[in-house]
């Protein structure tokens, strides 16, 4: 491992009921995925404001992933459908702004899918690592 190997910054929003529990299960089963992924717990995927994702990119994140309950399984009945619609809009806008589509992702991970959580994270980190650093939205005013 060389010292200057690129390590992406990845923010993962996980809903409290499914995906966060799925991440816990991945941990309980000792399923490895890169330490570059940092999880933020939200009550539901629909709590994730597109603003949060823009903020992450402004602050230099290289990839953002949103995980929620499977369609139809939302703890709040319909939250993940809202999330899916909002993210579809946001991602196409990000694409327009020149942020590669592959830097953002929505995944459904249930509380029972620890293995899927790890697999998704491995894949996402690999994809983002291949894309390299993301500077396009970085706001230098945010840097002190």
């Amino acid at each position: 491992m060389s010292m200057n190997e690129f390590k992406p910054k990845i923010v993962a929003f996980c809903c409290n009921w499914c995906s966060y529990a799925g991440a816990d299960l991945a941990g309980t089963n000792r399923l490895n995925y890169p330490a570059d992924v940092k999880i933020i717990r939200v009550p539901c995927s629909c709590r994730v404001n597109p603003m949060f994702i823009l903020r992450a990119f402004q602050r230099g994140a290289d990839g953002v992933i949103l995980c929620g309950c499977h369609p139809g399984d939302c703890h709040y009945t319909t939250g993940n459908y809202y999330a899916r619609r909002r993210m579809t809009m946001l991602f196409s806008m990000l694409d327009y702004l020149g942020i590669e589509k592959e830097r953002t992702r929505v995944e459904w991970v249930s509380a029972a899918e620890g293995a899927k959580f790890a697999a998704v994270m491995n894949d996402f980190v690999k994809t983002v690592t291949e894309l390299g650093e993301n500077k396009r939205l970085e706001d230098l005013r945010c840097k002190k």
Binding site: D24, R41, P43, N49, M51, A56, H75, G79
Partner: protein, 663 residues
């Protein structure tokens, strides 16, 4: 100025094995706002908790971060710890450095770095936490049970037994439901009426239970602990307070050709009727579709013969408003209509019947007084063919994709009862699988085969062909002998799939309770919360939630009652304080939030605001009912003006977390 304390847990070697806990505590101690940082072997132990309590007191901490296992594990523990030391329990954040760090990373350096990032993220969040208090709403000490079958009856009795008032709403003139129509019950073969009617009487005599028979729920407003319900009491054209149930009117009524719906139309009754002898309430009802007086104004016989003067042709529907703390749905089921299964000749031949119709044909109180006679010519049937799974496990448009669950057992029961009473009758059962997962169920089915000589045939009937001589030629496959059978039968009995009652769907809309694609109510958790709807305060009892037999229905009915009692026993409801709230100064009254709220927690109110020029102006603004809000946050994102925010997961907090991760 925030004074934050950081507590890093070793979790034995679970965390300390891969994370340098000392380095983490040291690094986090330098974060802004942190005044105390330490590590300890087991933070969740009593000694660990005392360490936290002491630190809160000694350093006057305003917020704490515990770097430990998942918050799903010990968040509640540390919240209690904080509260015990006088700190608001919502000033606690957990950094998950076990499941999401030490357990998945092997490299100590990598894991330690990540643990520090997770720690500082939690610190950034806790710095913006605000003390939250769970709000309290009073609970109306009264329950509503919708549906008066065995499920509703059992739930009502159990709730009343605990001392609470219960209203039982039933759309038919009598309670009892499907069980009242059944002859015998599996696997013990007790007579259904003998075990059901005492419970019906208990309901009627219990002073805590009020039965609204021949009534329907018209509207539901409000929320858990405080529902406001309108009940429509349909006009019976008989004064309930005067009718004695003597039955003279039913005898004298000249309109004798009214289909008897209690007997599923297998015989006739009069236009004024009492569904069956043990009906509760035992009050006559006039069928407006058949009564000559109500249709043409000519007759009036019942009014003349009624000594109590109970007949009231001018009676109108009545509306009753009532408050409830909890609502139980027990709307039950019906067999599906068999119009799309003409290959079984159900509409073509009166001798092809559904299993529920067979119950009536065999019932002592049924159209034949308990003697099994075939409907067409009232002769004794010598060969009877049962067809299982008619419309169940059927993924085409006309059937139901699920297993109806009860048919295997009631068919075994029917076959056994017929063979027992009429040993000269041959009984064939066409089955795909025999499913008997219940106590003494498989033994029961085996008895039908081994002791009663019922012919079970693995296969399915392809066609039932009525013959000119009145016989029914049944063509079906025997998959084990690899033969196509042609059986000349006298009667064919179809185990029709069951489906939720048609009233369930509009009711679910009123209750904002969710349903699956088959119109069964969904439960809050399929395993761990099976009798609660995801909507707070709505409970499920019986087949409205999924196919069930009587023992299961009664068990679930009592479980639902226990949940209701648990709710009603509370003096007030503490709700999750992580709810949405709106900044009225920013709200522009657009209703976006109201539309996305799955719970109907947001309403709009007109409020007076003081303007800068000292005038006042009335504006329409959003108002969140914290008792109903479940805290999903959908509204916060929908709000175009940024007025809506979620306590505990505010925009600022999440942004601070993002910043801390990306730093």
């Amino acid at each position: 100025m925030q004074k934050i304390g950081v507590f890093v847990c070793h979790c034995g070697t679970n965390i300390a094995g891969t994370v340098d806990v000392k380095a983490v505590a040291e690094a986090l101690g330098k974060e802004p706002g942190v005044v105390f940082s330490t590590e300890y072997q087991y933070m969740c132990s009593e000694a660990g908790q005392n360490l936290i309590k002491d630190a809160i007191k000694n350093y006057g901490l305003t917020g704490i971060v515990v770097c430990s296992c998942s918050p799903r594990m010990h968040e509640a523990t540390f919240r209690k710890t904080a509260a015990a030391a006088g700190l608001n329990s919502y000033m606690v954040e957990i950094a998950n450095i076990r499941e999401q760090c030490s357990w998945i990373h092997k490299d100590v350096k990598v894991a330690t770095e990540k643990a520090i990032v997770l720690g500082r993220t939690a610190i950034a969040k806790v710095a913006l936490n605000t003390p939250l208090t769970a709000s309290e709403t009073p609970v109306v000490k009264r329950a509503l049970v919708i549906g008066g079958g065995i499920a509703g009856i059992q739930t009502a009795l159990d709730i009343a037994d605990a001392g609470y008032e219960v209203d039982l709403v039933e759309k038919e003139p009598t309670i009892g439901g499907k069980m009242a129509q059944i002859d015998k019950t599996f696997p013990t073969l007790d007579c259904a009426a003998c075990i059901l009617t005492p419970k019906m009487v208990d309901c009627a005599q219990n002073e805590k239970i009020h039965i609204y028979a021949y009534s329907e729920v018209e509207s539901v407003k409000g929320f858990v602990g405080n529902f406001n319900v309108t009940i429509k009491k349909k006009a019976r054209f008989v004064d309930e307070t005067k009718c004695t149930g003597c039955g003279i009117c039913t005898e004298k009524c000249p309109m004798k050709k009214t289909p008897n719906l209690f007997n599923l139309g297998l015989d006739n009754r009069s236009a004024i009727y009492i569904p069956f002898a043990q009906a509760i309430p035992k009050i006559a009802t006039i069928d407006a579709d058949y009564c000559n007086m109500l249709k043409n104004g000519k007759c009036g016989v019942c009014s003349k013969v009624c000594a109590a003067g109970a007949i009231d042709y001018k009676q109108q529907d009545q509306y009753i408003e009532q408050q409830y703390g909890a609502i139980v749905v027990a709307t039950g089921f019906n067999p599906i209509k068999l119009d799309n299964y003409s290959e079984f000749a159900y509409n073509e031949s009166p001798d092809v019947v559904t299993s529920l119709e067979l119950e009536r044909l065999m019932n002592a109180a049924g159209p034949n007084g308990g003697t099994l006679l075939r409907p067409s010519d009232k002769t004794h049937p010598h060969t009877i063919v049962f067809v299982q799974c008619v419309g169940s496990r059927d993924t085409t448009d006309c059937g139901k994709p699920y297993c109806s669950k009860i048919c295997c057992m009631y068919t075994a029961k029917h076959a056994m009862l017929i063979r027992d009473k009429y040993p000269d009758t041959e009984v064939y059962v066409f089955y795909m699988d025999v499913r008997t997962p219940g106590k003494n169920f498989d033994e029961f089915y085996r008895r039908a085969v081994e002791d009663y000589g019922v012919h079970y045939i693995k296969g399915m009937v392809g066609k039932v062909m009525p013959q000119p001589d009145g016989k029914l030629l049944v063509r079906g496959s025997d998959l084990l002998t690899d033969e196509q059978l042609k059986i000349e039968a006298d009667m064919v009995v179809l185990a029709a799939a069951i489906e939720p009652d048609k009233t369930a769907r509009p009711l679910a809309t009123m209750l904002t309770a969710s349903m699956d694609t088959n119109d069964f109510f969904t439960e809050a958790h399929p395993k761990l919360r099976p009798v609660e709807s995801p909507t707070a305060g709505i409970f499920l009892s019986g087949v409205c939630q999924g196919p069930k037999d009587i023992p299961e229905t009664v068990a679930q009915a009592s479980a639902a009652a226990a949940k209701v009692i648990g709710l009603l026993a509370k003096p007030a409801l503490k709700s999750n304080p992580c709810t949405a709230h709106s900044d009225e100064n920013l709200c522009n009254g657009c209703s976006s939030c109201e539309r996305v709220c799955p719970y109907g927690a947001i309403s709009y109110v007109d409020k007076e605001f003081r303007m800068p020029d000292r005038t006042t102006k009335v504006r329409r603004v959003a108002s969140v009912n914290p008792a109903v809000c479940q805290g999903c946050g959908a509204c916060t994102v929908a709000c175009p003006s940024g007025a809506m925010d979620l306590s505990g997961f505010s925009n600022k907090q999440i942004m601070a977390e993002v910043d801390a991760i990306c730093r």
